[in-house]
């Protein structure tokens, strides 16, 4: 009988973990999760990449368009992203300094639905 109580309690305790959670970086970048969509921003010598996963699935880059809005102090700039491979949108050659705020806008090309996320660059 005690085992049944223990089993029920254990099941209830882990129930919240069944919700979507996808915050682990896959490419060494920073991850921001908005609802069930995980955005990973990677700064590399070759440029800046944004990887998008939705409900655990990689989103094909040709299905979306995106733009980064970079703010550092009073300076603002916009960086367009282009489709790369896997689930990667890329701004080749782009640089984002530490301490910047990066607002991301991603548009689903088919539905026109828009999503946004904000990164505070470490």
């Amino acid at each position: 009988m005690k085992f049944i109580y223990f089993a029920i309690a254990s099941a209830l305790a882990i129930a919240p973990a069944y919700a979507h959670s996808d915050t682990k970086p896959r490419h060494g970048g920073q991850v921001v999760e908005v609802g069930e969509t995980a955005f990973e921003l990677v700064r590399a010598p070759a440029g800046v990449s944004l990887y998008v996963r939705d409900d655990g699935d990689e989103v094909p880059p040709e299905s979306m368009s995106g733009k980064l809005f970079v703010t550092l102090g009073t300076k603002k700039s916009e960086i367009p992203l282009v489709a790369a491979k896997g689930n990667q949108l890329l701004a080749a050659g782009a640089k984002i300094p530490g301490g910047a705020r990066v607002d991301v806008l991603v548009i689903n090309n088919a539905t026109k639905a828009r999503q946004s996320a904000t990164f505070m660059i470490k």
Partner: protein, 246 residues
Amino acid sequence: MAKFKTLAWSAAAAAAVLAPTLAQAHGIWFAQRAKQIAIIYGIGADDLESVKRLPGMESIQALDAEMNAVKAQLRTDGSLVVVDTDAPPKIVSAVLQNGTWSKLPDGEFVKKPKDEVPNAVSAETTIKYAVSIQGPLTKPVPLIPAQALQIVPVGTIPAMLGTPLTYRVTWKGKPVAGAAVINDFVNDPDAKDVLTKADGTVTLPVRNQGLNVVRAVYVTPTDNPAKIDRYEHTATLAFTLPHKPE
């Protein structure tokens, strides 16, 4: 005694002004639908036909984190009206001209001015306003000229439900006394109104660890007594308290 009579008369006058608001109680507010920013028309759990109201929607505006204007437009997505912005918004707002309504003796309303409804007992033009805060802000919510009636949070939005939050209600940019406020238009639409003080403020606990839709109603006099008796303005402020990380 004279002071008591004055107070009693003021209360009766306020009740008379507020009473009609109960019948025309619908509003607009912003809420997330399928990850998008949608405009909802309704009251409480009634999420009504916003697409039908699209022709009356105007002054769609968005502001970024620095409170600079961002281009925004409405788009019909199935049965939803959603807002598309050209950059991530921190504030979005809209106005709905919801028409002129005459009240019949049996309490029903018809969408006509009273000069076209011989047995009308009253008539009003209704205008709905909505502002939404999208995520944490680093600057105060500005007064938006198109939002003739606006609810502005005073200070920072708290992290936890139950925390008191002061709001200032403004009419044409100035604090207004006597606006009728409730703090959860979606989940408690029949709550007792709290009237704003002389400085336009009211303090209420934040009710939800999720979507909060605060609503204010303010009535202004007619400028066309042959057609309407008053204008009824209904404003909402929507914001979300985040849930725990999953």
